[in-house]
Each structure stands twice: as C-alpha cells, then as structure tokens.
C-alpha cells in the first residue's frame, strides 16, 4: 500500500476541496491532490501515493522508475485497481 508512482503534472486546478493536478503516469492521467507540494508547477514530476503528490522527483529518475514499473506490470495494477474491483465486485466477492 505504500507504493508511490511517479508522474508529470500536466495541469493544475481547484476542485472545491483542494489544489489538484492532472498527473500523467506514462499515458494514464489521474486527478491528484497537490496540497502537500505547494511549490509544484506544470511540467514538474512528483511521486503519487493514494492520489496525493508527496515528493518531487527529477524527470530522468521518474522516467526510469516508470519504465521499471511498466516492465514489472505494476503500473496498470496500481492505477487501475479500484476501477477493476468496483466494476466486477460480485464475481470476486463470493468465496
């Protein structure tokens, strides 16, 4: 659960709750809370955990990590987990 994925901030906006960003994880874009990185700007890279940007990272390191996660199959697994589970709950749910 402590995995964090690097991504690039493509846009910054307010959603009525907090300062948010559109963060691009190698092609998958998610809404991410930027409140804990007040200095972050469009084009910067950050690592993201449960929808929160928690630390900046340089572009080269971010790309390398994204590549490693992609090779290990972690990227899709981490970013699509909630949608997949909510889409097919009952088949999974009965044991």
């Amino acid at each position: 659960m402590c995995l964090a994925i690097p991504g690039r901030v493509d846009a910054i906006f307010e959603d009525g709750l907090s300062r948010m960003g559109k963060v691009n994880f190698g092609g998958i874009v998610k809404d991410v809370c930027l409140a804990y990185l007040p200095d972050i700007a469009v084009g910067d890279y950050t690592i993201v955990h449960v929808g929160f940007a928690i630390s900046k990272i340089d572009e080269a390191s971010a790309q390398q990590t994204l590549q490693t996660f992609r090779e290990m199959g972690l990227l899709e697994e981490e970013l699509s987990a909630s949608e997949a589970c909510n889409a097919a709950p009952d088949k999974e749910g009965q044991s």
Partner: protein, 370 residues
C-alpha cells in the same frame, strides 16, 4: 513471473549482487520493514541472488495485515448498516474479520466502494447528503497525510455525513518493539522509502544509537533494494550502526513539512494494537478530540465487539520475522489467497501472499533436507 535478470537493468542487478557477495564474510540477518519491499524481493527473486549468508527477514510493514481484528469487525458492522456508503482501499475488502469480510458484506447488499484516494470518499459524501459515508483510513505514515486531508477538508466544508474509521500505525515504534523482543535476531533494517519521503529520517538516529543497528532508507525497485542491502552489509561488516539514505532521489532528512504539519494538527499519538503482534506503545495515530465528530468509531458506537481469530493462523510470527510464511503448517493448505486465515495471505503487501503467488512453497530449511 519475470526474474530480475530478464529486465533491462539485469546486468546492474547482477553486479550489485556480486558486490554484496564480495563484501559478505559471515551470516547477517536484515529485515525489510515494508511489505511492498517484501513483494519486490520475492517477485524478482532478489533473495535468490544474494549469498547464502544474507537472510532477508520480512517485517510488519503491511498496513492491511496489522490492522486489528476488532477494527476489521467494526468496519464490517458499520458497512452492513443501511444508509451507509463504506469506502475503502481495495486491499481491505478480502481481509478476514471474525466471521466475514467486506466483499461478503457487499454481496449481502452493503454499499461498499473501493476508492483510489480518500478525497474520493469526501466527494461521494458531498454527492450523497442523505447517506452516511465512512472511509476506512488504515495505513502507515505514507498514507496518513491523505487520510488526514480527507478529514480536514470534510471539517472545513462542514460535512455532517462523512467520518473515518482510523487505524494508523508508525514504523519507528515497530522497529523498537522488534529490537526489544527476546526472540529478536535482526541485525539491520531497510527502512521504508516512502514512509521517509513523508516523515524524513530525523527519528531514526535515536534507534541506530539505542540498538546499535544500521538503518538504510531504501526504495522499492529491485536495484534500490539491492543497493539498500549492499549498504547494510557494508555497515555490518565494518561494525558501524548509523542511518544511511539510499533513496536520495525521493527522501530528504526533514521529509514533507506541509504533510507533517497537517498530521500534527489532525492526529495524536496513541498505543496501538497490531494484529498478530499485540499492543506497541505510542505506535499509532488517532483523530484528535477536535476532530472527534469525524471519528466513525465514535459516531457509530461499535466498540466492545467480541473477536475470534483463527487458531491455525501464525501471521503474528510471520509479521515479526520469527517464521517464514512457508514454515506455517496451514500455508497453501487451509490458508490460500482465496480462503485466507490471516491478513498476511490477503494483501498485495502480505508476506504469505507473496510466497504463495510467486510459488515459494518449500522453505530453505526444508530444501537442505531434500
């Protein structure tokens, strides 16, 4: 499954492993605290690249695994109530309570939803003013800022239908508890990189000094873990015991200060029971009294639940590094990811699930007798 040497950077991994073999002159036991690191080690066969003298022991850093049974049962009781939308990270849904799990509650008609972020639960509360929305806020220091923010914005917006069932745990008190155990044999720790990205590592020098152990802050990728192990072995062989940051591209000494500020505002330190381990003093966070109205335990009055743990489950010994998963008599027999007896067989960070999913059915000591 792909092993490490199949990856693009397999050569670097092999050279790091060779370097570890070169500097290792005697047996050492190193614990990786974080369950994410456990999975990386087993998934990539990192332990099999290491010299026989280096034993990796898997630690308690799996939030799903250590969440007390009583709190799981409270979650089940709340989620089963009519008019409740119960939101959780996906990992928690299959964790066995005394009788059921959250998937079962959903199958029986409970509105249980998996969210990506705690703020999603707050949005659900705003969109459903006639429902009570409860977020299951578990996790270590990495996840706590997200959960703190959810409660904080709910309070700022005066949401009357949002609350959180909080069970947060902390790494440094767990390291201290492991070192103080009479059964302890750990000689060095890989500290969890993303915990330190939030908290920094100013809490760790006190531990290295008190227990004379090296602590190396380590990332999650295979090369990060090998580098963390290499730096641990270098200290052990030299008789040193200090904090070393092997994850400098992410972790700074002071950590994320805005996150720490909100954590301090929303949470206070409490003694926390860890499933399978017991109470560790000052090892968790709970909501401060100012945020009590957002505390689901308070709102739903679900304390005093009688819990029943499986007598066959040895997850407590697994979480403390005393037993390897495949040394448990129930492993792969009565206990599988489809029918788990304990949370360590469920979570994507649980050591038992890692051993099961990556085919580690025979323990090293069994192998020597083959």
């Amino acid at each position: 499954m792909k092993y490490l040497d199949e990856f693009r950077n397999g050569e670097i991994a092999q050279s790091l492993a060779r370097e570890i073999r070169r500097v290792t002159t005697r047996p050492w036991k190193i614990m990786e605290v974080c369950g994410g690191q456990t999975h990386s080690i087993i998934r990539n066969g990192i332990d099999q690249l290491l010299p026989a003298d280096i034993e990796m022991v898997h630690g308690p850093g799996c939030p799903v695994c250590v969440t007390p049974l009583e709190i799981i049962d409270q979650a089940l009781a709340i989620a089963a109530q009519p008019g409740v939308i119960f939101c959780s990270f996906g990992d928690m849904l299959r964790v066995p309570g005394s009788e059921k799990d959250l998937f079962r509650i959903r199958g029986e008609g409970g509105d249980v939803r998996i969210v990506y972020s705690p703020l999603d639960a707050v949005q659900i509360a705003r969109q459903n003013p006639d429902k009570q929305v409860v977020f299951f806020g578990v996790g270590f220091e990495t996840t706590a800022p997200a959960n703190a923010m959810a409660v904080h914005v709910a309070r700022q917006h005066g949401l009357k239908n949002f609350s959180a069932l909080i069970s947060h745990v902390l790494v440094p008190p767990a390291i201290a508890a492991i070192m103080q155990s009479p059964r302890n044999s750990i000689q060095a720790f890989l500290a969890a990189g993303h915990v330190c990205s939030v908290m920094g590592y100013h809490q760790y020098p006190a531990l290295t000094e008190r227990f004379r152990i090296p602590i190396v802050i380590t990332g999650f990728e295979p090369l990060d873990i090998l580098e963390g192990i290499r730096r641990s072995v270098l200290q052990l062989e030299a008789g040193e015991a200090r904090v070393d940051n092997a994850y400098e591209r992410i972790v700074t000494f002071e950590g994320n200060l805005p996150a720490q500020k909100l954590l301090e505002q929303v949470f206070e330190i409490v003694d926390r029971a860890w499933r399978g381990i017991g109470v560790i003093p000052a090892s968790g966070w709970q909501l401060r009294p100012e945020y009590r109205e957002f505390d689901a335990e308070h709102r739903f009055q679900v304390s005093g639940i009688h819990t029943v743990e499986s007598p066959l489950c040895h997850s407590g010994e697994v979480l403390q590094g005393i037993l390897k998963p495949n040394q448990c008599p129930a492993f792969g027999k009565e206990c599988t990811p489809r029918k788990p007896l304990g949370a360590t067989m469920v979570s994507s960070e649980g050591a038992c699930a890692a051993y099961y999913n990556y085919g580690r059915f025979i323990s090293a000591d069994q192998l020597t007798h083959v």
